[in-house]
């Protein structure tokens, strides 16, 4: 039978915490950029300009058809070289964190835009008509009337997507960037305690994601009764 030895975890906690900060940083920045860019995509998709709505539809469908791992590999292996040759970035500069954030933000924006599009469409048409009748321009109607109502209903879905994104940040493993999972793997590999470190990492992710999803559920219930 396997004999567990958890002694390498306490000493590794500061390193693991550094990794967790990287995971959280990627998550927060990607969620914010993803929601902003996703909102723009959703508005483009619903707009009456064919060019814009086709662009948004193409963007969303392309990113939703490709695995996140492939998107990240593009951003780690190809995009840095592109930037080096196009914009004259210094050769071999470490862009992994920036690449990871950009990759996640552009990828998640496609998923966010679908949530936001459904949210905008769930606001009743009369709201838009009433705001226009009051003399508001399209931008004002969206910003002051439609989007605030849409976002209120969407918050639980957007948060759930954020939890999924947090889980997916572990995939930066493909670039050997030391996020929480990468840090746990490195320590486990170094100490020959991979079994314990992987179980520990799994438990930490579970506690965080389970607690967060329970909070979202609680908020959702409150929203429904309000």
């Amino acid at each position: 039978m396997y004999e567990f030895d958890w002694t390498s975890i306490p000493g590794a906690l500061p390193f693991l915490w550094q990794g967790m900060q990287v995971s959280l940083e990627i998550t927060f920045v990607a969620v914010i950029f993803g929601i902003v860019w996703g909102t723009l995509l959703a508005i483009m998709r619903l707009s009456s300009f064919t060019v814009l709505s086709w662009f948004a539809a193409g963007y969303v469908n392309l990113f939703r058809a490709v695995p996140l791992v492939m998107v990240l590999l593009w951003f780690f292996l190809i995009v840095p070289h592109l930037l080096e040759s196009l914009l004259g970035f210094p050769r071999g500069s470490d862009m992994r964190l920036g690449s990871a954030i950009a990759g996640f933000a552009l990828f998640e924006a496609a998923y966010y835009s679908e949530i936001i599009r459904a949210g905008i469409q769930s606001v009743s048409k009369g709201q838009m008509a009433a705001a226009s009748a009051l003399g508001m321009r399209y931008g004002q109607v969206m910003r002051l009337v439609v989007l605030p109502q849409a976002f209120r209903n969407m918050v639980p879905l957007l948060l759930t997507q954020g939890i999924i994104l947090f889980q997916d940040t572990s995939l930066v493993y493909v670039s050997a960037l030391a996020d929480f999972f990468g840090a746990a793997y490195k320590v486990g590999d170094r100490d020959g305690r991979l079994v314990e470190m992987l179980l520990f990492a799994g438990a930490v992710y579970f506690v965080i994601c389970f607690a967060a999803s329970q909070l979202v559920r609680h908020y959702q219930k409150k929203l429904r009764t309000a």
Partner: protein, 245 residues
């Protein structure tokens, strides 16, 4: 930008001899398909069972099923994959573990990947099955029981046939997800499509051609599955329901 495009690289023989780079792409493609389909089969069977258990009027059984779903949903796929690949062989009795570790590495990678994807997706399928069953009007279950069916028969003959047709659209997106998620298995060295793409970059030094081809291959799988499932959905629609005839 002075990049030399060279699409003909796929027809060149690989440095290990015998095959062309196109053959590598194909073998990766076949691996992705084989892995995704076998994991999907597992996910459907387990997911249906767990989804049904979540709705039965028994606190212990439904609690157990809820725990199952929460565990697989709240741990990242990559971590689950590493647990199956690196941890499980250590935790089973030593004789089995050793025999397993001495077997063909490709089989080890495939088994771990299939277990991981299958169980991960089964939790998601279970959620769809549960919401499908819960969306049925309660009269259907009551009518079944009133006719003298046992609870098992009511599930078997009344609720599951209806629910399975209602949940086809959300299942389609899970089916698409399993192909995309299979790319994660490249991290343990399984030579599926994404891993072959990386290998092509290393061997051919033509990164754009390699990545564009692999990305298009995933898009193609996506389109084929989507159209296939749309065909199935059109045939399985329940008349009178939203989206029905």
């Amino acid at each position: 930008m002075n990049y030399l495009w060279h699409w003909g690289v796929f027809l060149q023989p690989t440095s290990t001899g015998g095959e062309t780079y196109l053959d590598w792409m194909f073998s990766g493609f076949k691996m992705t398909i084989a892995l995704s389909l076998s994991a999907w089969l597992m996910a459907l069977v387990l997911g249906a069972a767990v989804g049904v258990l979540r709705t039965v009027p028994n606190k212990w059984l439904s609690g157990l099923a809820t725990a199952y779903v929460e565990i697989f949903r709240n741990i990242p796929l990559l971590v689950q994959l590493f647990l199956w690949y690196f941890v499980l062989p250590e935790l089973v009795p030593a004789s089995i573990g050793t025999a397993y570790k001495q077997s063909n590495p490709v089989i080890q990678q495939f088994v771990a990947s299939m277990l991981c994807l299958g169980l991960f997706t089964s939790a998601r399928v279970a959620e769809q099955v549960r919401s499908g069953i819960n969306s049925l009007p309660p009269g259907q279950k009551n009518a079944g029981l009133a006719m003298g069916f046992t609870l098992a028969q009511t599930y078997r003959y009344v609720m599951l046939p209806m629910a399975s047709r209602l949940i086809l659209p959300p299942l389609t997106s899970e089916f698409l997800n399993i192909f995309k998620n299979s790319a994660v298995c490249s991290t343990i060295g399984l030579l599926e499509l994404a891993a072959q793409g990386r290998q092509l970059v290393d061997y051919t030094a033509q990164p754009y051609e390699s990545f564009i081809s692999v990305t298009l291959a995933y898009v193609m799988i996506n389109v084929v599955v989507m159209f296939g499932m749309r065909w199935v959905e059109a045939r399985a629609r329940v008349p009178g329901y939203i989206g029905g005839k």
